[in-house]
């Protein structure tokens, strides 16, 4: 008989032994495979019009389909580079009418056919203010969507422009009208559908364990071909470092962004991992608020002055900041853009780093160190301002300190306000800041992102610094209507150079994304705007499968 004193040890050993032995599953063959993604946030809902966060987007990519999608080239002009999804073919019926023919094989996961009525319903839902979709402004140039017959959807546009096709297909994932029509639109946020979606994509929703995991399973009858990996699991971890540890410890297979140089090094050292670098879709900048924080109807006493902004921009050595904070994991952006955009061009003219010239310009503006305290002043007012930065971002806090030091060298005093992200969001949205280090993500089109953030269209929206230049906006309008990609690129270049000369912000860094993926996964392709967009083509060959690939549940 087991002595009582040994009992606890015995129990612990039994528990560890049982838990340590993975059950051998039954799946064999080419269509097995389990991919565990270490996600660092949990979606609020999986209902596409209401979900803008990254993880929800990744999951929705698998469960729902667009009519067509951008290709790996990320070309948003015309329709040549787009890949058919729900729409088998399309044609232009006049300059303002686009006709999509749906693939008759497409089925919802409850086996109901996908029809043009679903497309019409989807457009009406996305553009309904009651739904409050963040994608609604991006659809403003589409006048209507109607059904010609059960498999033909007709899009009518308000005007002609090169990215008509992109606007028609990129922002909307088609929704099942037969399931969502009975739900009142003002209750969509609370709808059960958002936590148990039924789509028509390559993967079916299986389960959502709150704050733990979300599981999908391949639709073996998917009309565009059976997905290569059978099970997809998003393992939810509220902490980047722990998520990275899970991948390194072989308890997860994918971490799509490692973010810091240290994490990249650790992933490279892990034998079972491959590291992939791909273009990032985020850029970070120091925004100068051109309106007074105390009264947003009045100009900012400092930053309304274009020459002062230019001088301050010249005082910052962005290349050295980047080197010390990020090594080779990022680039200095040539303007308000991430490396994702096809208009990225390192030859775009920018203000030089030149502290001597910055000093001379500040002197010329009357900002001199009259009292010898190391800080420039004018009319008794020191040249001093605050940098607002979210406390949750280690990188941006680090940048704030580095900027503080560089500005100090030219006689500018900086105070750093590190605040909770929700407070930063509120202060930035209401204009209560001097400067703020902000990040913006781009979708593949320069037209939507740049116009929303740097023109008057973004006032009250995401043009937080309230930058306005009639010259810039005129060229942006021209670029948005250019008929060829080369012509558009020239115009965008001119527009960005105009903006750079006005220095509404200092563009600090554009991160490259570095992903860690288990080596057993084959055919890994990461599309920069959405790493999981072509996940259905990834494979785990039978000879590389491990225990978790074969698990049946």
């Amino acid at each position: 008989m087991l002595r009582r004193s040994y009992l606890p040890s015995f129990v612990v050993i039994v528990v560890i032994t049982i838990a340590g032995c993975e059950r051998r599953g039954g799946c064999t063959g080419a269509n097995c495979g389990t991919l565990v993604n270490a996600a660092i946030s949990e979606p609020g809902t999986l209902l596409p019009p209401s979900s803008e966060d990254v993880v929800a987007n990744d999951i929705d990519e698998q469960v729902f389909l667009k009519l067509a999608d951008v290709g790996m080239s990320e070309n948003t002009i015309g329709d040549e580079d787009f890949q058919p999804l729900l729409a088998k073919t399309w044609e232009w019926d006049g300059p303002l009418t686009l006709v999509f023919h749906l693939d008759p094989r497409a089925r919802w996961h409850d086996n109901t056919p996908v029809t043009a009525a679903d497309v019409e319903f989807t457009f009406n839902a996305y553009t309904d203010s009651t739904v409050g979709s963040p994608f609604r402004p991006k659809l403003r140039r589409i006048a209507s969507v109607t059904q010609r017959d059960s498999l033909t959807a007709v899009f009518r546009f308000r005007e002609r422009y090169p990215e008509m096709f992109y606007d028609a297909v990129y922002h909307m994932r088609i929704l099942p009208a037969h399931l969502l029509r009975p739900v009142p639109r003002d209750q969509w946020r609370t709808a059960a559908f958002g936590r148990k979606p039924i789509g028509c994509g390559p993967y079916k929703f299986v389960s959502w364990q709150p704050a733990q995991s979300i599981e999908l399973i391949a639709d073996s009858t998917f009309f565009l071909g059976r997905p290569g990996i059978r099970r997809l699991i998003w393992r939810i971890t509220p902490n980047l470092q722990v998520a990275v540890q899970q991948v390194i410890a072989d308890q997860a297979d994918v971490r799509e962004q490692l973010v810091t140089p240290e994490n990249v090094e650790r992933a490279r050292a892990a034998q079972q991992l491959s590291v992939y670098t791909y273009r990032g879709n985020v850029y970070t900048y120091l925004s100068f608020n051109q309106r007074s924080p105390d009264d947003t109807t009045k100009p900012n006493p400092l930053f309304a002055d274009r020459e002062l902004r230019r001088a301050l921009s010249m005082a910052v050595d962005r290349a050295s900041l980047l080197k010390s904070a990020l090594g080779d994991l990022a680039k200095v952006p040539p303007g308000p853009m991430s490396a994702l955009l096809w208009i990225w061009d390192e030859d775009i003219r920018q203000l030089p780093y030149d502290t001597a010239q910055a000093g001379r310009r500040l002197n010329a503006l009357g900002w001199r160190d009259h009292d010898g305290d190391g800080v420039r002043d004018k009319d008794g007012q020191p040249l001093a301002f605050h940098i607002l930065v979210p406390s949750s971002s280690v990188l941006r806090r680090q940048y704030a300190r580095l900027l503080q030091e560089q500005f100090r060298a030219v006689g500018v005093r900086i105070e750093i306000d590190e605040l909770e992200p929700s407070v930063v969001g509120q202060r930035v949205a209401t204009g209560k800041f001097d400067t703020a280090i902000l990040s913006r993500s781009n979708d593949p089109s320069p037209s939507s992102g740049i116009a929303q953030t740097w023109t008057r269209a973004g006032f009250g929206g995401s043009n937080f610094g309230r930058y306005y230049s009639p010259d810039f906006e005129r060229v942006v309008d021209l670029a948005g209507t250019a008929t060829s990609r080369d012509k558009a690129k020239q115009l965008w270049r001119a527009a960005i150079e105009t903006l750079n000369a006005d220095a509404p912000a200092i563009f600090l860094y554009a991160l490259d994304n570095v992903a860690a993926v288990h080596k057993r996964v084959d055919n890994v392709q990461l599309r920069p705007d959405s790493w999981a967009a072509v996940l259905r083509t990834w494979r785990i060959p039978p000879d590389r499968q491990i225990d978790r690939d074969r698990v049946e549940r």
């Binding site: 528990v15 049982i18 838990a19 340590g20 993975e22 059950r23 389990t34 565990v36 946030s41 609020g44 809902t45 803008e52 966060d53 203010s129 009651t130 409050g132 963040p134 003002d186 946020r189 609370t190 936590r195 364990q209 709150p210 704050a211 733990q212 995991s213 099970r231 699991i233 393992r235 939810i236 971890t237 509220p238 902490n239 470092q241 722990v242 540890q245 899970q246 410890a249 308890q251 949750s392 971002s393 605040l419 909770e420 992200p421 929700s422 407070v423 930063v424 969001g425 509120q426 202060r427 930035v428 949205a429 209401t430 902000l438 009250g460 929206g461 995401s462 978790r548 698990v551 549940r553």
Partner: protein, 333 residues
């Protein structure tokens, strides 16, 4: 009858305290800077935010919102979490089992190990084992919990791969507990976070318990028990320990709320889906209904824990039992 009256008085006072706390938290979170819109790391378009706030009623005057909240609360409705897109009641109900498991395991380790060490140290006071254990417990007690958690994760999770790196289960094999294997898997995932919490707690408990045991060791009744020839085991466990339990019970009562309120840092670091993590993320996203509900539960547990501790003190020490109305002030002091 007198005890019943005392109990009724304490319960009524507790309800008032909980109501006051909820009111205070409701007002505080509403007037705190930051808006209930967008995620933790993103700035959402203000126009979209305004529409969301309008739909959720956050654009109404705070008094009106408070009145509606109290009315809903009276019906047992804790509101709707906009960050989780679901009723607060459901979100909390799902976290409670996880918090109970983690906090329960940690408290068992804390008090069992702490009590045993404290007794052992007291019996060997100022001798080598006592000195060694005292230094070790002081070292462990002084460790920041989050640092210990990260260290254990790094060593036992990443480097040695003996234990899972975060989460309450293996999502591939056991997304839900539906077998003995999955139950064992849950225990396996529980070991690192519970050990982190329990070890630090046990170090503190051991030091308190040692001091309490030594304080009663020199009492007359202990000497009398020994003089009467009582076995040493009986002297320690029956006479010395029982009288040294008062501080332990007080600590236990104060620790009870932790069973439901969770441990914010540990739950976040170990990706444990408990109440602490839920409350923390609710505060970051300014999820007003969720924050207020977690405050409601936390304050209820605190007053309940104190009430239980007072009752247990009466059980452990007959001198503290209520006999007359005039004793009430002694008990509630």
């Amino acid at each position: 009858m007198t005890v019943a009256a005392w109990l009724l008085r304490r319960v009524l006072a507790s309800v008032a305290i909980v109501f006051a706390v909820v009111t205070f938290v409701f007002i505080l979170i509403h007037i705190a800077p930051g808006k209930p819109c967008g995620g933790q790391n993103e700035i959402v378009d203000p126009a979209v935010c305004d529409e969301v706030n309008r739909q959720l009623g956050f654009d109404r005057p705070i008094l009106e919102q408070y009145g509606l909240y109290v009315l809903a609360l009276a019906r047992g409705d804790l509101g709707y979490s906009f960050s989780l897109h679901r009723p607060v009641r459901d979100a909390i109900a799902e976290t409670i089992p996880f918090t109970l498991q983690l906090a329960g395991a940690a408290l068992v380790l804390d008090f069992a190990l702490g009590l045993a060490l404290g007794i052992y140290q007291a019996r060997r006071a100022n001798r080598l084992p006592d000195v060694i254990i005292a230094n070790i417990t002081l070292f462990v007690y002084s460790l920041p919990t989050f640092w210990l958690a990260l260290l254990l994760l790094l060593v036992f999770g990443e480097k040695l791969a003996w234990f899972p790196v975060g989460g309450p289960n293996n999502p591939v094999l056991c997304p839900v507990i539906d077998s003995a294997f999955c139950l064992a898997d849950r225990f396996w995932h529980l070991i690192l976070p519970a050990t982190t919490l329990g070890l630090v707690g046990a170090a503190g408990t051991a030091r308190f318990q040692r001091a309490a045991m030594l304080a009663v060791a020199s009492q007359d009744y202990i000497r009398t028990a020994r003089a009467k020839g009582a076995p040493e085991r009986r002297v320690v466990l029956h006479h010395q320990l029982r009288n040294a339990l008062l501080s332990f019970i007080t600590r236990f009562g104060l620790a009870l709320p932790f069973l439901l309120t969770g441990a914010v840092l540990i739950e976040t670091i170990f990706a444990w889906p408990g109440m602490g993590r839920l409350a923390f993320e609710a505060i970051l996203t300014r999820d007003y209904p969720l924050v207020t509900a977690t405050a409601l539960i936390a304050s209820t547990m605190v007053v309940a824990g104190n009430l239980v501790a007072d009752l247990l003190l009466g059980v452990a020490d007959p001198r503290l039992r209520v006999r007359t109305a005039s004793d009430l002030d002694v008990v509630t002091a």
